[in-house]
């Protein structure tokens, strides 16, 4: 299981960075999404995978007896998912706005040098 996850994490990072290097703004956002998912999976993987052992103390015991799944990485991922959700929705609105204002989604066209201000 670890091997499969490690490969998936690697693929997500690689494809995320590849898409970020493309010129299209849409691909940039897709790349960011993939990268964010890759990071979340990495936290999950490195937190240690334990199968079917939730960190719940049985009713008659006072402490956990055997090996259990670490709840901290799950809390971290949950936080990171919420944050990257916010970021991604901002990114989508931003590229929509960019497309409306600039009329292009080619990042090479984003180089206005005019000094407009108020």
């Amino acid at each position: 299981m670890e091997i499969i996850l490690a490969i998936i994490v690697g693929l997500l990072y690689a494809s995320g960075i590849y898409l970020m290097l493309r010129r299209s703004l849409v691909k940039l956002v897709v790349g960011l999404v993939l990268l964010g998912n890759g990071v979340n999976l990495l936290i999950f993987l490195l937190g240690g995978l334990v199968r079917g052992k939730p960190p719940i103390i049985p009713a008659m015991d006072r402490v956990l007896g055997e090996i259990y799944a670490d709840p901290v990485p799950q809390a971290l991922i949950l936080t990171a998912i919420v944050i990257s959700f916010g970021m991604q929705s901002f990114a989508i609105v931003l590229i929509k706005r960019t497309y409306i204002v600039l009329g292009t989604d080619d990042m090479d066209e984003i180089h206005t040098t005019e000094e407009e201000d108020d």
Binding site: L28, L32, G47, L76, M87, R97, L102, I110, T112, D117
Partner: protein, 509 residues
């Protein structure tokens, strides 16, 4: 010592932001609440600073979870100093923005976002947990995204795309580093990590994590090969906004670097050499960038990059004296960069122009104002006895002592370039005769403003200039403070005892 009041700077900004949301269409009320709240924030910050500086480090365990398991908030001298500086800058910017920001932008949540941003900064300074630091960084950048796009102009949108992408990437690298660190050490508490990291057998992976942190924070603080987003985006938002960006946003990256590298990863020779080289190149390339700009605000943006190099160089040498120099520079830089961008905003309101070639005659028209603006400019160069002079002396002598002659050369070069750029700026903007320009109808010029509006624009600059002068003339006190902070950074045992020791004495099962 446990004290739950240390969270007050965060809670105050949070409350302010929420309250301001209820007044979203009533601009006058927003202005009053924001300024009054910022004054209260300064009072709290001073109180907290005195408490910590004169007595001891304060900690707070969130939810009363014991230290390595829960989230710890720690107020040591370094973090309270940063909170104090942030509150002072925020007060100045809050006053300045009441006049300089357009009403339409205020209606779209300028002030609430402003207080959310300051809340994020305060949280980042206070936290003792590395994942929590990540969360505060996200709070900061989300608020800054609002700022950088507020107004929705073409240049702003373009700046925002670059700013967003690089900051998101930096966050992802930071988070990757946290993931690997947690997998390796099994802890997120920085004081706890400090002990655990040395027991790890696979020190090669520890080095990799350290580099990941360096890259993540490096993008945020705009160090040498990672700074290109900054001059492309910082000149696009309003003057008040870019002054808070310039003063605080890159500096929070430096703060995080200092924290992580003093507490968790003690730099070895390879790391020190790498950071020193990066510091030198930052000074060099930022300086050269500033040299070719004719746009005033782009030139200032390159100045930010250039002067980050001093602090990075100080971190790279990693001796108590060098860290003291870096911290002193940090203290000086926060105030002076905020002031510089505010002054830039004022100059813009007078000239209606950001291109230096088309400005001029400012000394002739406003001699007193010109002298006022000279204070941040000359502090930036480091004309003795103003504030930039002292940390540079410290850093120079320390690079002699540690034998970093390359860095010494870069420091002198950086100072010289700053001198050259500011002198050129002075002669272009203040002394050169200006040809009369056609007035742009959409700008509200300085001389069209009422007396009270002018006061609101000038008071913050006076206020920050007085602080700047104090840092320069009262350098003895600041040195005592920065030496104290550097001693705490080098010998982290008091910090660790305060965090972990508090947990053992404060058990309430």
């Amino acid at each position: 010592m446990t004290n739950n009041l240390i969270i007050l700077p965060v809670m105050l900004q949070f409350t302010l932001a929420i309250v301001l949301l209820f007044f979203c269409k009533r601009i006058a009320a927003q202005k009053i609440i924001s300024i009054a709240g910022s004054i209260v924030a300064v009072v709290i910050a001073v109180g907290l600073f005195r408490q910590v500086y004169e007595k001891s480090i304060l900690t707070m365990q969130a939810g009363n979870w014991k230290a390595p398991f829960g989230i710890t908030f720690v107020a040591d001298t370094f973090s309270t100093t940063m909170i104090l500086l942030a509150s002072l800058s925020a007060l100045a910017v809050a006053v300045f923005s009441t006049v300089s920001i357009k009403r339409a932008r205020m209606k779209f949540g300028y002030f609430p976002s402003f207080h959310f941003l300051i809340m994020g900064l305060n949280g980042a300074f206070l936290t003792g947990d590395i994942f929590n630091l990540y969360v505060w960084f996200e709070v900061i950048i989300i608020s800054s995204f609002v700022f950088i796009t507020l107004g929705g102009k073409k240049v702003q949108i373009e700046g925002a795309v670059k700013y967003f992408t690089l900051n998101f990437l930096a966050s992802m690298i930071f988070l990757t580093a946290i993931a690997v660190l947690y997998g390796l050490a099994g802890s997120l508490n920085m004081a706890d990590l400090s002990g655990k990291i040395q027991t790890i057998k696979n020190q090669g992976v520890v080095q990799v994590i350290a580099i990941l942190f360096l890259v993540g924070f490096g993008i945020k603080s705009a160090i040498f090969p990672l700074y290109f987003w900054l001059p492309d985006s910082y000149h696009t938002p309003q003057a008040a906004i870019s002054s808070i960006f310039a003063g605080l946003l890159t500096k929070v990256g430096i703060y995080a670097l200092l924290r992580v590298f003093s507490l968790v990863f003690i730099p070895d020779d390879f790391m020190k050499t790498l950071v020193v080289i990066l510091g030198g190149l930052t000074l060099f390339s930022g300086g050269l960038g500033a040299l070719v700009q004719t746009n005033m605000r782009k030139m200032f943006s390159y100045m930010i990059v250039c002067h980050i190099g001093y602090m990075i160089g100080g971190i790279g040498m990693f001796t108590a004296a060098a860290l003291s120099g870096a911290v002193f520079y940090l203290i000086h830089d926060i105030i002076v960069k905020t002031n510089l961008f505010l002054a830039g905003g004022l100059i813009y309101k007078i000239n209606g122009e950001v291109n230096m070639k088309r400005m001029g005659s400012m000394y002739e028209q406003y001699p007193a104002l010109s002298l006022l603006v000279a204070v941040p400019l000359f502090s930036l160069i480091g004309v003795p006895p103003l504030s930039g002079f002292w940390p540079k002396i410290n850093l120079m002598s320390e690079s002699f002592v540690t034998g970093n002659y390359y860095l010494l050369g870069c420091i002198i070069f950086g100072s010289f370039i700053t001198l050259f750029v500011i002198t050129r700026f002075w002669s272009e903007v203040f002394w050169k005769k200006r040809e009369a320009l056609a007035r742009k109808p959409y700008i509200r010029y300085f001389d069209q403003m009422s007396r009270s509006q002018k006061t609101f624009l000038i008071t913050p600059i006076v206020f920050l200039s007085i602080i700047s002068l104090y840092i320069g003339l009262g350098a003895e006190n600041i040195f005592r403070l920065s030496n104290h902070i550097a001693a705490e950074l080098v010998d982290t045992s008091t910090y660790i005892d305060a965090v972990l020791g508090a947990a053992t004495t404060n058990v309430t099962p």
